[in-house]
Amino acid sequence: MEVPLLEARGIGRQHREGTSWLLRDVSLAIRTGDRIALTGPTGSGKTVFLRSLAMLDAVDEGAVLWQAEPVVADEVPVYRSQGIYLTQRARLFDGTVEKNLQLPYSLAVHRHRHYSRDNIVSYLDHLGRDEQFLMLDSANLSGGETQIVALLRVIQLDPTILLLDEPTASLDEGTTQQIEELVSEWMSVVDSRRAFVWVTHDAAQADRVANRTLQLRDGQLIELESNP
């Protein structure tokens, strides 16, 4: 059997005071082609789990393995450039939309690559927007537009795994559909080597986007459905 792309092996996260567990002994192997919907009641630890996968927080137990290997400290930024976490309160920086899209290329890990406006414009075409959108001030965008820019900022970097934390939680139907299409398109380009985990409260959305549905309940991960 092929090596999982990303694997959580018995991970646990404690409450800050160390008195109780937010998450305990959770394991998950994510393979290429996996479109995983992660559901579960509020406070069940979905965000905590996703942040652990993105190595944004230290785990108190277990390990996160990238292509079957633990990621050494120095390589964490490189890992995060391939397994990208998108929070539901994605943050844009001051300046235009285009400035925000160029921002990742100023980081050491992406410095060998170049921002491509053509690439972005082709995405915008699909979304029914033109080049003018790039000149808008990020402060004047709606919640949906902000989320779309945040997603484009990530997708243009060709990540291998997307860790999406309720990316459409507060968005209208139309924008939700656009986000779903963007992710689906990114996934289908080289389907054989990509995967995503999508946290959602919406069962219908889980059906639409996923080929595996998991539920996190009381710190336990249950596989509900799998039809690859």
Partner: protein
């Protein structure tokens, strides 16, 4: 002949009478400050007499160990004060503040004693070492406090930006840099401002003191110039030190931002 008027106890008492003006104002306007004024006056007299006695003894015995002990106590109090003034804290902050205050002030003091004041009798001559360190600490404390408070505030309020950068593959330094730069600018601004206006808006305390004790104005100016540079460099070193130490604690080797490690101080300790 002495070049200044030596004060008798009676003359000092005459100045103390001026506090009655404050008392009268407080009574007339019902400010209810009489009690505080009394305590403050008594403390002023007692504390200064006490430090006077200590200094007189230290100056007389002139032993390295005693001078170093006094310098250490002064530095320790300054470090602790910087630690208590921040509204937020993290585990290990007291040590970080102490290290920053200690390293910056003693480095600059050593430079002053060895490289600048070569005419003094020894590197630990209390006549120079103690007032110089006092002035360095008194002025750098502000910069260190501002730097620490600024960086903790920047990390807290900038959490979303910092984490957004980390998720995109930023190193911890790339993610923290904006907050660090802002905190250091804030920390350095007051000393730069006071260098801009020194001698125009007011005469610095040390210069005033030297003038009162009969030193030639041009001599006092030279000393003041030295002091300004000592303070400026100690402020820079101290605030950079404390900010970088805080950064090392709050961002671990795995490029993770330990937001939860910053906690709010309870009200009582903040006010102290």
């Amino acid at each position: 002949m002495k070049s200044y008027v030596e004060l008798s106890a009676l003359q000092v008492g005459a100045a103390a009478l001026l506090i009655l003006v404050n008392a009268a104002i407080s009574l007339a306007l019902r400010l209810r400050l009489e009690r505080s004024l009394l305590i403050a006056s008594v403390r002023t007299i007692l504390q200064l007499l006490l430090i006077g006695l200590v200094l007189q003894w230290v100056f007389r015995v002139e032993q390295i160990i005693i001078v170093v002990a006094l310098l250490s106590i002064m530095t320790g109090i300054a470090g602790y004060t910087a630690f208590t003034r921040s509204a937020h804290a993290y585990t290990g902050m007291l040590l970080d503040t102490m290290v920053a205050v200690w390293a910056s002030s003693w480095f600059v003091l050593a430079f002053a004693m060895f490289a600048v004041l070569q005419g003094s009798r020894s590197w630990h001559d209390p006549q120079y070492a103690i007032p110089l360190l006092g002035m360095i600490l008194g002025n750098t404390l502000n910069g260190i406090t501002l730097g620490l408070a600024g960086v903790l505030d920047g990390f807290r309020s900038g959490r979303d930006q910092i984490e957004t950068l980390l998720t995109l593959g930023a190193t911890r330094w790339e993610a923290a840099r904006a907050s660090i730069q802002k905190a250091l600018t804030t920390a350095m601004t007051p000393i730069i401002n006071s260098m801009m206006v020194v001698g125009i808006v007011s005469l610095p305390g040390m210069m005033t003191g030297q003038l009162l004790s009969g030193v030639e104005p041009m001599e006092t100016v030279k000393y003041q110039i030295v002091i300004m540079f000592l303070i400026a460099s100690a402020t820079a070193l101290g605030s950079v030190g404390v900010v970088l130490l805080a950064y090392r604690r709050l961002f671990n080797r795995h490029h993770q931002f330990r937001y939860d490690a910053i906690r709010r101080r309870d009200e009582r300790r903040t006010r102290e």
